[in-house]
């Protein structure tokens, strides 16, 4: 257990060092933008991983929280003239509040009903952002200014380094939660709610905490995406975002420690290679998602863990982390 913990920390340090060296190897602003988006999606996926991969509660509202975070950040600055340093925590708090308010009634629902209800919430939000033009700026969205303080303003590279550090902190918290007491309780909730309750786990509290936490991860990611894109518009909350998120979760490996980061790297960079295929892109995207789901159910992270086990024999074999028994009474 202790050695695994240390190995995990070593991996985080390696990821951060690699990420910090990376900009030196890139030539254009476009490439820098791409690698910034990796960390945005990694943050979004970490929250989803905690919620679905570990706790077994599916949410199709992650992209809505992603959008609300970015809109809150943009509107507090544009409409109320707040400084970005005040708008950022305020936007995160708004999202946490919204998540707590809708989470409490919604988390009584299970599996497909929960998926549908959260989807209804996010479609409602996207509908509002598209239609309430005078408040949200409609489909054109709102500009997000570069962060400035006095004479100093944040460059693209500065933004990238900030995102790497935020994502690294997010990853440390993510992994800490998984290996800690709360993580065990979350897995118990995933595998058997009644069983978890009888062992003294406060199921409602665990679900709600993780739901809010996942929303906060999504909000931080959304603010990062807004800063990278220099604007926010309704597409932040639309269907393609949740499809990317699911692909990241599946390709990286659901319920694993490094799945969100590995998945984000692959899913953000792969379309760059696929863009060369033009019209074939969607087709290849779908086929890849299916192939991963069927042949690598623990994702790339699962594959790497197997190699790791082979290299360092001392590590315990990889657990089967994919959410099981989410639906009781299903055909099995």
């Amino acid at each position: 257990m202790r050695s695994m913990f240390r190995n995990g920390n070593l991996a985080i340090v390696l990821i951060v060092v690699a990420a910090l060296i990376l900009p030196a190897l890139l030539s254009s602003g476009y490439q820098l933008r791409m690698v910034s988006i990796i960390w945005v999606f990694a943050l979004l996926a970490m929250g989803f991983n905690l919620l679905y991969g570990i706790t077994g509660q599916i949410s199709m509202a992650q992209q809505a929280f992603f959008a609300i975070g970015a809109y809150g950040f943009a509107m507090l600055q544009a409409r109320l003239g707040w400084s970005p340093f005040a708008a950022l925590p305020a936007a995160v708090l708004i999202v946490a509040g919204v998540a707590a308010v809708i989470g409490l009634p919604l988390l009584r629902l299970r599996t497909h009903y929960l998926a549908m209800a959260t989807l209804a919430f996010s479609l409602m939000m996207v509908g509002l952002t598209n239609r309430w033009v005078e408040f949200t700026g409609g489909s054109a969205g709102i500009q997000i200014p570069t962060i400035t303080m006095g004479d100093w303003s944040m460059s693209r590279a500065g933004l990238y380094y900030t995102l790497v550090i935020v994502a690294a902190i997010g990853l440390v918290i993510h992994n800490f939660i998984i290996s800690g007491h709360l993580g065990r309780a979350m897995q118990a909730v995933r595998d058997d709610e009644t069983g978890a309750e009888s062992l003294g786990v406060n199921v409602t509290a665990v679900k709600l905490r993780v739901f809010v936490l996942a929303a906060v991860y999504a909000a931080v990611g959304g603010i990062g995406f807004g800063l990278v894109s220099r604007q926010v518009n309704p597409s932040f909350g639309e269907f393609p975002v949740i499809v990317s998120l699911l692909t990241i979760a599946v390709v990286g490996g659901l319920g694993t420690r490094f799945g969100p980061v590995i998945g984000a790297i692959v899913v953000v960079l792969a379309p760059q290679a696929l863009a060369r295929f033009g019209e074939l892109e969607t087709l290849i995207y779908g086929l890849c998602l299916g192939v991963f789901l069927i042949f690598l159910p623990n994702g790339l992270s699962g594959v790497m863990e197997r190699w790791g086990t082979r290299l360092f024999r001392s590590r315990p074999p990889a657990r089967q982390p994919v959410a099981k028994n989410v639906v009781e009474g299903g055909a099995r």
Binding site: Y113, A117, G329, G330
Partner: protein, 293 residues
């Protein structure tokens, strides 16, 4: 009165399509506890195949219908053999299989993009679209055909489920797949039937709704979502509850758009569904499933 009847019929027409997708989803869910996120794509393929066979190749209506059916049935088998069975064999939980069907939906859209391109195509209508009056109500043949198909499929589903021994086997599988298997019911076949029957229903719905929606490869996702909502609103356990949910959504949507605010009709519908789920977590008619827990 004129406005009301126009709204009512357009609501019933859209609601019938949502209801048919909801019915398809619910039938598959009953057989294997999986939500098929590609169900709307069957409608899309139905619409687009109708364009291909009727407009592009200029085939006669019966031939085109048979070929369209062939396409959606082949698609259903592809879904079953390429996505559902491999995942089930590996013991994937239902939500993972749902993500698998989503992958199938994206793949289907990718293929359709290659065949039909991204633009909206006009769909040949089988029946005249000119307005006509039935008593005090204004409608047209295309709308009546969709509502008629809705009623016919509802009746057919009821007949299969409650008046044949095969239907008894389907319902037994829905109640408890393991016990059904012990009783000698081949649940694989039930699942295959559910996929094929749902594909037929959705594909024909696609042929009929095409002229009203317009033929575009992106219509599938919205229909899946509305059908999913219909099924959840009614209650996933029963195909009839799902169909009723679809009608309710369609009519409510048309009425809110007509008498309230057409701009906010969609968000309001989603809000209402959210509120209903707060109060009744298993849908309006979902007591059956709630009691099983």
């Amino acid at each position: 009165m004129d406005k009301f009847s126009v709204l009512l019929f357009s609501g019933l027409t859209n609601g019938s399509v949502y209801g048919l997708v909801g019915l398809s989803l619910s039938l598959i869910y009953g057989a294997n506890r999986v939500i098929n996120f590609a169900q709307g794509e069957f409608v899309m393929i139905g619409t687009m195949s109708a364009i291909l066979f009727m407009a592009t190749y200029n085939l006669s209506l019966p031939v085109a219908l048979v070929l369209t059916l062939g396409v959606v049935l082949a698609m259903a088998l592809a879904l079953e053999f390429a996505v559902y069975l491999p995942l089930r064999r590996r013991g994937a939980p239902p939500l993972t299989i749902m993500i698998g069907t989503m992958a199938f939906a994206i793949t289907t859209m990718g293929l359709a993009l290659l065949v039909w391109g991204p633009n909206q195509l006009s769909v040949p209508n089988i029946l005249p679209m000119e307005p006509m009056t039935v008593g005090p109500l204004i409608t047209n043949w295309q709308q009546l055909a969709i509502i008629g198909a809705f009623v016919a499929f509802l009746g057919l589903t009821w007949f299969i489920l409650y008046r044949t021994s095969f239907g008894l086997a389907i319902r037994a599988t829905g109640v408890d797949p393991k016990v059904a298997l012990l009783m000698g019911i081949r649940s694989d076949r039930i699942v295959r039937f559910a996929f094929l029957f749902s594909a037929t229903v959705s594909g024909l719905a696609g042929v009929l709704i095409g002229p009203l929606l317009g033929g575009q490869i992106s219509i599938g996702v919205a229909l899946t979502v509305k059908g999913f909502m219909a099924a959840i609103l009614g209650g996933l356990g029963s195909p009839f509850a799902a169909a009723a949910g679809g009608l309710a959504i369609g009519v409510a949507e048309a009425m809110i758009a007509g008498y309230g605010n057409s701009l906010y009709a969609e968000p309001i519908i989603f809000l209402i569904i959210l509120m209903i789920l707060f109060v009744r977590p298993y849908g309006l008619l979902g007591d059956f499933e709630a009691a099983r827990r």
